[in-house]
Symmetry: C2
Subunit: 202 residues, 2 copies
């Protein structure tokens, strides 16, 4: 917006509009909201980002974002460290943690293999996973990756890499989502959900 009559404001709007999904108009709305607050609150807002950038670490076990050398999940001794769920990023960790059903640990790949985008196995945290597997305490690897081309490619690559080194490799179930209309489910999902049918217990 060349029409913002203030350099300071225009600069802040530019910074906000670099955030994903935030255009110039939304950025202006956010910035005008921020400057309505008192100085201390604004400083807290700014510091939260700088602190995060300065102090956030990558867990040296699972590569998740962490405040310390190892993350809270890897530190937790009541979890099963022999079951490792492989996910793309921290958002997937949070999503699975929210279900409250998984008691193992994670490994965060930091992406998926995608030849189109030039992302190969060496760009992901696969070396770290190899090391964990080599230490010999892992019984099961669970693939919890997106059900798309990149996810499937990554699953395939990892399964070839680890099939002789762990007892069990599994994948989260694909099927008709809860609340999903059968009629509108795509044929690949529907076909897989019939193949992978489970025993019905009434």
């Amino acid at each position: 917006m060349e029409y913002i009559p203030s350099k300071l404001l225009s600069n802040a709007v530019d910074q906000f509009s670099r955030l994903p999904g935030i255009g110039k108009k939304t950025a202006l709305r956010l910035v005008l909201d921020v400057i309505k607050r008192d100085k201390k609150t604004v400083e807290n807002f700014a510091n939260s980002i700088v602190d995060l950038k300065k102090n956030i670490k990558s867990c040296k076990i699972c590569c998740n974002l962490s405040d310390e050398e190892t993350c809270l999940i890897c530190q937790n001794q009541s979890r099963k460290h022999s079951i490792v769920c492989i996910v793309e990023n921290i958002r997937d960790v949070i999503a699975i943690e929210q279900t409250g059903t998984f008691n193992g640990v994670y490994h965060v790949l930091g992406g998926l293999i995608s030849p189109v985008d030039g992302i190969g196995p060496t760009d992901l945290n696969i070396e770290e996973l190899k090391e964990r597997v080599m230490q010999g305490n892992i019984e099961e690897l669970i693939f919890a990756l997106s059900a798309n081309m990149e996810g499937e490619t990554t699953c395939f690559y990892l399964s070839r890499l680890f099939k002789d080194k762990v007892n069990k490799i599994s994948q989260i179930a694909r099927g008709v989502a809860f609340g999903g209309d059968l009629e509108y489910t795509d044929e690949v999902t529907l076909a897989r959900s019939i193949e992978a049918r489970t025993v019905y217990n009434a």
Copy 2:
């Protein structure tokens, strides 16, 4: 989100989710995007806000946000300082500036009279407008306020206050918007647009 496995991350997400229209999930997406950038960029982002809050001023003539004592628009001597367009906030100033059709100056009220929300004339920048009018150089006041109850109330109040003190008080035209379907235009707008019809020049 209690499931974020990092205090630093969770704090930044909290801060972002206080922005208007930003929920926890969006906040997490924004924060994860920010920390992917290099340290300098993150600091620039944080500083842009702190600098803005610390240094932004209210123009002592028109009450618009400004980097200096008076804003760029009030400083501009090629504009007609005798024509004052009264708006609610800086976003309206930007919207009108973007049309490129107005060559006068502005007065930013900082809100609209709204008895329901407990906002009276003393909460707005009306004293400052009185002073400008008293100095006697203003020929026309243009009301460019929202076409709702609060806007109409404010127009009415201001017109009573200034009708004997300036030559001309006008209001931006209300009517069917460009691209607007006549069929779906509400009756108040349609009625007004017929009343306020203009000569058609083919």
